[in-house]
Amino acid sequence: MTNMHYSIAPGPHVNSGPGDIPKTMLLVNLALLPALFFGFYLYGLPAVLLTLTCIFGTLSAEMFCQYLRKDSLWRITDFSAVLTGILMAMILPPHISLFLAFLGAWVAIIIGKALFGGIGYNIFNPALVGRAFLGISFPVAMTTWVNPQIVSAVTTATPLALNKWENTTTIIKTLIIGTHSGCMGESSTMLLLLGGIFLIALRIVDFRIPFSILGSTAIFAFISNLVSNGTTGSVMFHLCSGGLMIGAFFMATDMVTSPVTPLGKIIFGMGIGILVMIIRLWGGLPEGVMFCILIFNGLTPLINRHTRPSILGTVRGRGK
């Protein structure tokens, strides 16, 4: 009898194959590219530099943290830090100073991610943590908007601010194509939707979160528009303006910071959608997607705990 020895392990001995995390991250990056390139087209060189700075910032911060934790520096090749960098750049004003962008990227990775234990352990979406930090610390720089160069490079306000304080509505077609002022990569509804559908088709993103966010926002906007005789902006206006699209498809759907249960995902999405409309209509800010997502990131463990699926064979009234 041969004395061959084979490797042993507990079952299952097969798995679903190559769909691993770095690949997933890479695909999310790819899905962002159309909207990102549109941002480059709108704002030119400053947008490119901003993106590069953010990616450089997140990667260097990630490497720094890995070095401190005596972990492999090659961790950065999982594309998650690159994703944070690109997302950061896309939700910053295109002409913000590169130093602030770099600072935001470091805050995003260090406070938003590494302090919690790195990938998989963070509670809040890192890119949004970075942006929230910049938004609160440098409010003027973060709210100075310039029209895209292809329109006319003058300082202006975003469609939501215009609607809220000056009662001017932007044409829906502009909002869908994305030639209005705003953050670098969040303006083009069309291209973000394209990327989002791509991710849903690949089953990287669960359709429940974006659909429930957009659905609840639409219903809320419809009712408020009806009640206020059309002064709060139409359904399409609210769906296509601000950071709602990028938030719904790329920020709220961040796996780490969103619920794992199917019902939890719907509650999470609806909560964000309703809160977004509350801030837009009655809050002190023109836009609230960032804070809404951060708030619901914090509520995620609670949502998970209370939306557990029913275990097969649970008898009603008995068991838990």
């Binding site: 084979y6 507990p10 097969v14 997933t24 097969l312």
Partner: protein, 442 residues
């Protein structure tokens, strides 16, 4: 729309490797290692000693108590030794080593005089008990216990498990094709003995040939129906099969009989015919030998106690790139470090897998994608339960339903971070059981 259960996965089937191979008989080897721990419950107690001469089919070990099953000699010969030997599960368990008498012709098992209408529940249960019939799907639970008269819980449906949801394995499929009449006789025996009003054969739609044959054969039996199911793993699990076919759920912590159902596997049905009509105990087993590491994948009928090395030799040996030897399917099978152990009643497959099929990847931190939640057929949250089990928070793990886990492995299969979810949960479950048994004894 075909019926099925909720969630689950659909792994690469690889059934075609052996689907068209008819069952070959492996010539009995000169020495057999018959384990006494072949079933769910207490190991059998040997009633023979070293040097005894035994005949084929003789009782060599009797059941130890109620939840146990007897073991019979697969060949005639001499008892060489009763000693501890390597078991499929990796532990050493007591086994009887039989030296085969090569002179002796194999015994012919002929049909006894019992006619179908003479069978009563008593005769049926007695035969199952005496001939050591156990569930051959994997758990090897003594079959007679399932059919004991129970006035509180009347038997309403018998489900025949013909799913064979594990990839690679074709043993039940080939049995249905080649021993259809034997199989049908078993179904009639069960119907006659238990007087159950209906019997449903649950079969996955990746076996169209078997479905066609069964449809023809069951035409004249109003009580028996064939229910094709959508191919999905783990449909062969008792609870999943019941929920797929009947749309009912077994209560948590309960048995199928609580809702009037008993599930029997295809090969078990054939051994029921053997036991009742031929007085033949379980002595051999239909096994699929497959995987890309095997030179000649085959379906074989082999004597219980044959070592895995002999089976591999019969199938042309393993290729040098073989990484893992499995007993059972790739989802729930046992990995073997060597080929010393031998065939049990519950052995369904022997697989030699190459690194290509295994796709071994390093673990990545959990990113809480929720794939395990959407694929868990029991409706659990595996990522959270595994976390609790890993950190020994057994109270929380129990609160989240760790004991409801059927260990099918869908969570670990579907995890993009390749986390060892079911493996961790298994450790947690055994810790909980150990602690509760300690509490009981103190």
């Amino acid at each position: 729309m075909l019926k099925t259960f909720r969630s689950g996965i659909h792994p690469e089937e690889y059934k075609t490797l052996t689907a068209s191979e008819s069952i070959e008989n492996v010539p009995p080897s000169e020495q057999l290692v018959v384990s006494l721990n072949q079933h769910f419950g207490k190991p059998a107690i040997p009633i023979v000693k070293k040097g005894d001469i035994i005949g084929e089919g003789d009782l060599i070990a009797e059941a130890d108590g109620f939840l146990s099953a007897p073991v019979h000699a697969p060949v005639s010969g001499k008892i060489k030794q009763i000693t501890d030997s390597l078991h499929v599960n990796g532990y050493y368990c007591e086994a009887i080593i039989i030296e085969r008498d090569i002179e002796k012709e194999p015994r012919i098992w002929s049909r006894n005089t019992l006619s179908l209408t003479q069978i009563s529940r008593e005769i049926f249960i007695q035969a199952l008990k005496e001939k050591g019939v156990v569930g051959l799907g994997g758990a090897a639970f003594p079959t007679f216990i399932k059919f004991l008269e129970n006035t509180d819980k009347p038997l309403k449906t018998v489900l025949i498990n013909a799913c064979e949801c594990e990839p690679y394995i074709n043993a039940d499929y080939r049995t249905m094709l080649e021993q259809t009449d034997h199989f049908m006789a078993g179904l009639e025996i069960i119907l006659q003995a238990t007087a159950v009003p209906r019997m449903i054969i649950g079969i996955e739609n990746n076996k169209p040939k078997a479905i066609r044959i069964l449809n023809i054969k069951t035409k004249n039996h109003p009580a028996i129906s064939v229910c094709p199911l959508k191919t999905k793993y783990p449909q062969g699990g008792e609870k999943m099969l019941i929920s797929a076919v009947l749309g009912k759920a077994v209560p948590r912590g309960g048995l199928p009989l609580d809702i009037g159902v008993v599930v029997v596997n295809v090969n078990t049905v054939c051994t029921i015919t053997d036991a009742v009509f031929y007085d033949k105990p379980i002595m051999e087993k239909t096994v699929t030998v497959s995987g890309h590491g095997i030179e000649k994948p085959k379906n074989i009928r082999v004597k219980i106690g044959t070592t895995f090395q002999e089976i591999i030799d019969f199938c042309g040996g393993v290729k040098p790139e073989t990484e893992r030897i499995l007993i059972g399917g790739p989802m729930m099978g046992w990995a073997q470090s060597n080929t010393e152990a031998s065939v049990l009643k519950s052995t369904t497959g022997l697989l030699a897998l190459t690194p290509n099929e295994l796709q071994m990847k390093p673990q990545f931190p959990c990113v809480r994608c929720g794939n395990c939640v959407t694929h868990c057929p029991m409706g659990l949250v595996p990522c959270e339960i595994a976390k609790f089990a890993q950190h020994s928070r057994l109270d929380l793990a129990q609160n989240w339903g760790i004991l409801d886990c059927i260990e099918c492995g869908c969570c670990a299969y579907s995890c993009p971070a390749k986390r060892q979810l079911v493996q961790t949960i298994r450790v947690g479950k055994s810790n909980i059981r150990r602690i509760s048994s300690l509490r009981k004894s103190s």
